[in-house]
């Protein structure tokens, strides 16, 4: 088989060809810096496209365009949200609440804030990855200034009860940030009904280019700028605008608004078929996290007993199938997964976890090939494994 079957869409997605087409003229023809829109018609033209992109994102989120600020990606948006609120509002308190299964962009930012005297409280998540809004309520004190809970988890696809948590925070006048990097462009979002104050997104997770993202900051919410400089983006994010990236992000947002529903239903169908066939053909395979119907519809995260995932992924790759979840045990690696650990998966099983995330360019016809390959590989790796007793 010559085609590559890419099943690691939660890691990154290919840029949609229509997005590339939209971006292309802004590299070397309409390349101007939009900052000089008052004195250069070339800049004005670029500025208009940048504002259109802002509008497209605003629409996708149910926000106003002047609540959207462009960044270099999800990581920067998370840093901006957490450090921006903490350093601006430290006079109101020093406690921040989050959960242990957040992305490292959140966790490491919180660690930094801890070094600056903030107190980080983690609410527990259950074996499926869900946080209980009641526990957030219990953890809130007079000193709490910020709650940061991701919309959906990137490893196990658990969708958190954002609306309830948003309501709790709004009632208590506490800022609420959500990392929606895995959901924007995939499932409907409305910042107003979610009651979020800040939201992070990243273009390359929904068929936009890498190196660009955005942060929603609700009108009236003040943050200390994270990226200091020339004062672009109303001072919230300095630096010459990545116009091509932003215009690409805008186009990806527009396409998502139009096609999301269909895409997600196709993706779900393929994911469900895959899981069905895997369960039928391969013994001793278990789902990590929430039930198949209460997680992101592109996500499958499974334990395959008795083997490790690194050789599994390499062998799949040899057959043209690219999946995720690798957990090399060697130095320099950031695994075993803190997410699987937090939901109580045992170490030995974590090293055998496989993450398959479907994207809109995957073809359902390949499901049989994937399952067959997986089955054969699992069999030979189990033969190879000192941990496998043919259980």
């Amino acid at each position: 088989m010559n085609t590559i079957i890419y099943l690691d869409n939660a890691s990154t997605t290919p840029t949609d060809k229509r997005v590339i087409k939209k971006m292309l003229p802004f590299f070397s023809e309409n390349f101007a810096n939009p900052a000089t829109k008052w004195t250069s018609s070339l800049s004005k033209l670029v500025d208009e496209e940048v504002e259109q992109a802002r509008l497209n994102i605003a629409k996708l989120l149910g926000a106003d365009p002047d609540e959207i600020f462009f960044t270099s990606g999800g990581t920067e948006s998370d840093n901006t949200a957490l450090k921006g609120i903490a350093f601006k509002h430290h006079d109101r308190g020093n406690e921040i609440i989050s959960i242990p299964i957040e992305h490292e962009a959140v966790l490491k930012s919180l660690e930094t804030l801890e070094g600056f005297g903030f107190k980080i409280k983690f609410a527990r998540v259950d074996s499926k990855g869900f946080v209980d809004p009641e526990e957030i309520k219990r953890l809130i004190t007079k000193k709490t200034i910020l709650v940061s809970i991701m919309h959906a988890n990137n490893e196990i696809g658990t969708i958190e009860p954002i609306e309830e948590i948003g309501k709790i925070c709004r009632e208590r006048d506490i800022y609420f940030h959500t990392d929606a990097v895995q959901t924007v462009g995939h499932i409907p979002i409305n910042v107003k009904s979610f009651n979020v104050d800040l939201l992070s997104l990243s273009a390359h997770k929904f068929y936009g280019p890498k190196g660009v993202g955005a942060i929603y900051v609700r009108k009236g919410v003040k943050v200390k700028p994270f990226m200091d400089g020339g004062g672009q983006e109303k001072g919230i994010r300095s630096g010459t605008l990545n116009t091509t990236g932003i215009i690409g992000l805008g186009e990806a947002a527009r396409l998502a608004s139009e096609e999301m529903e269909q895409t997600e239903s196709d993706v779900k169908k393929m994911r469900d078929l895959l899981w069905d066939k895997i369960q039928k053909q391969i013994p001793k395979v278990y789902l990590n996290g929430a039930e198949i119907d209460s997680r992101l519809s592109n996500n499958l995260n499974i334990i395959i007993k008795g083997i490790r995932n690194e050789p599994l992924l390499v062998a799949l790759n040899e057959r043209g199938v690219i999946a995720g979840g690798g957990s090399a045990c060697a130095a320099g690696s950031k695994y075993p997964s803190h997410v699987l650990k937090s939901i109580g998966v045992k170490d030995n099983d974590i090293f055998g976890a496989l993450r398959i995330t479907i994207g809109k360019f995957n073809k359902i016809e390949y499901v049989d090939y994937v399952v067959q390959s997986l089955n054969e590989i699992v069999n030979s790796l189990r033969d190879l494994s000192p941990f496998w007793e043919g259980e």
Binding site: G306, C329, P386
Partner: protein, 115 residues
């Protein structure tokens, strides 16, 4: 990705499995739960038969295969001299992956010296 020779051995590893009646068994396990086991049939200081199992990455699996192939019919005093240098003749070792080579190598050496 792994060097070609590693992928070849990984995709078609030799001597996989257990021996019924091994004279020696060598095992090694890393902190992160990777594990290698070698089963030797050693007679008159000569390796008559060998099999192995590895739960680890392709490096670890391929090195198991290479070692087991090399060991067959060899004398243990020769085999006891095997080290990382010896393996580097077969393939380049990425610094990220030194642990992965250590894993089967130690299990192998452990099996030589132990009864």
């Amino acid at each position: 990705m792994y060097p070609k020779i590693i992928i070849e051995h990984f995709m078609h590893p030799k001597n996989v499995g257990r021996l019924e009646n091994p004279s020696n068994i060598g095992t090694y396990e890393t902190l992160s739960k990777a594990k290698a086991v070698f089963y030797f049939l050693i007679e008159d200081d000569i390796v008559k038969d060998i099999k192995y199992q590895v739960a680890g990455c392709p490096y670890a699996i391929a090195v198991g295969s290479i070692l087991s192939e090399y060991a067959k019919g060899k004398r243990i005093f020769e085999l006891a001299k095997i080290n990382k240098k010896f393996l580097e003749k077969y393939f380049p070792v990425d610094e990220d992956k030194e642990e992965c080579i250590n894993l089967p190598l130690r299990a192998f050496l452990n099996g030589l010296s132990k009864i």
